[in-house]
């Protein structure tokens, strides 16, 4: 039993790193938001700006995955990744903002393209 637990947890040093480099950096920003966000009105101009920045940062993460793809996604040619996303966008618009239709058609385009390339 203790063997299993030791295997499951691994070494304690790694958990300490997780706490300091993983948990704290994220939790600090959340708690600052909780602290400073108090009393900010839902419709205020500040929030319009803050939400625009949050949306743009997420857009940056999306663009990063597409432009500098991690791991296996880099085996898909650049043009095919962009074409799959562009095709997904068209379907998303045509289907009046169906997330499912957009994601599914983007995936199908990418898989079909890879299959066609062999």
């Amino acid at each position: 039993m203790s063997d299993w637990a030791a295997h499951f947890i691994g070494d304690w040093h790694a958990l300490l790193v997780l706490l300091l480099a993983g948990f704290l950096p994220n939790e600090v920003w959340r708690m600052i938001g909780l602290w400073l966000g108090a009393g900010v009105d839902e419709g205020s101009e500040l929030l319009v700006w803050v939400r625009a920045v949050a949306t743009a940062i997420l857009a940056g993460v999306i663009a990063q995955i597409l432009v500098l793809p991690p791991g296996a996604l880099s085996s898909v040619p650049d043009w095919l990744r962009y074409a799959a996303v562009a095709g997904g966008c068209v379907v998303f618009m045509v289907t009046r903002h169906s997330i499912f239709a957009g994601v599914a058609s983007g995936e199908i385009l990418m898989l079909a393209g890879k299959w066609w390339l062999g």
């Binding site: 790193v17 939400r51 625009a52 949306t55 857009a59 996303v85 994601v103």
Partner: protein
């Protein structure tokens, strides 16, 4: 149709976390470690950055800086979503757990779902939603860790492509103002330009400038 969209987002979340579990396995982290990271970090991009930097031999300090930078985006998310949960009687400590649950999926879902929930029940609703999503992600992390051995390349590429597609469309669907739509489009367009300078904080620079330009356009239109 609403249930389908939640299913898709849950499915995307599941595959994202299965990917994180697989990545952790391949970089020799223990299952307990990666489950603890899902539980307490609770932000997919931050976990991917943490695992890949530590796995590639970066120091804890270097990993911490990269994660801190990526986590700044949680701040505006918290600031914009908390007013939906807060009533005049709400104490700050009642929001701590809900604040911890804030990450991109919950943030998107709150804008979609909370308007239909009575204000005084929203904190409880978010606690339920957050725990549900967390349970899905812990299961997914375990599944991915178990499957890790060898995903065929095509399958792995398809899983990785799910993340940008789903985040793109779910964000687009939740754009309520001109500023949001512009921020999304400008954010996508500016990142590749900023990335050419290899600053290490590319996403922050492109995000802050695209968001601010989008807000400026919104402000200018209001003045007319």
């Amino acid at each position: 149709m609403r249930s389908v969209t939640s299913t898709v987002l849950t499915l995307v979340l599941f595959t994202t976390y299965a990917g994180i579990g697989a990545l952790a396995h391949d970089t020799h982290f223990s299952l307990g470690w990666v489950l603890a990271s899902t539980l307490c970090v609770w932000a997919g991009p931050a976990q991917i950055i943490l695992i890949s930097t530590l796995g590639s031999g970066a120091t804890a300090l270097q990993a911490a800086i990269a994660v801190t930078v990526s986590a700044i985006r949680l701040f505006p998310m918290v600031v914009s979503v908390l007013p939906m949960m807060r009533t005049p009687q709400t104490k700050r400590r009642q929001l701590i757990l809900a604040t911890h649950f804030v990450a991109v999926t919950l943030w998107v879902e709150c804008f979609r779902l909370l308007p239909q929930v009575p204000p005084e029940r929203r904190i409880a609703y978010v606690h339920g939603l957050g725990s549900g999503l967390l349970l899905v992600c812990l299961t997914a992390t375990t599944t991915g860790y178990g499957l890790a051995a060898n995903l065929p390349e095509l399958f792995a590429a398809a899983i990785l492509l799910l993340t940008p597609l789903a985040f793109l469309f779910s964000t687009a669907r939740n754009c309520r103002h001109l500023a949001d739509i512009l921020a999304l489009l400008l954010g996508l367009a500016l990142y590749p330009l900023v990335a050419m300078f290899h600053t290490g904080v590319d996403i922050l620079i492109s995000g802050a400038s695209a968001g601010t330009i989008a807000y400026a356009v919104h402000w200018w239109r209001e003045q007319e």
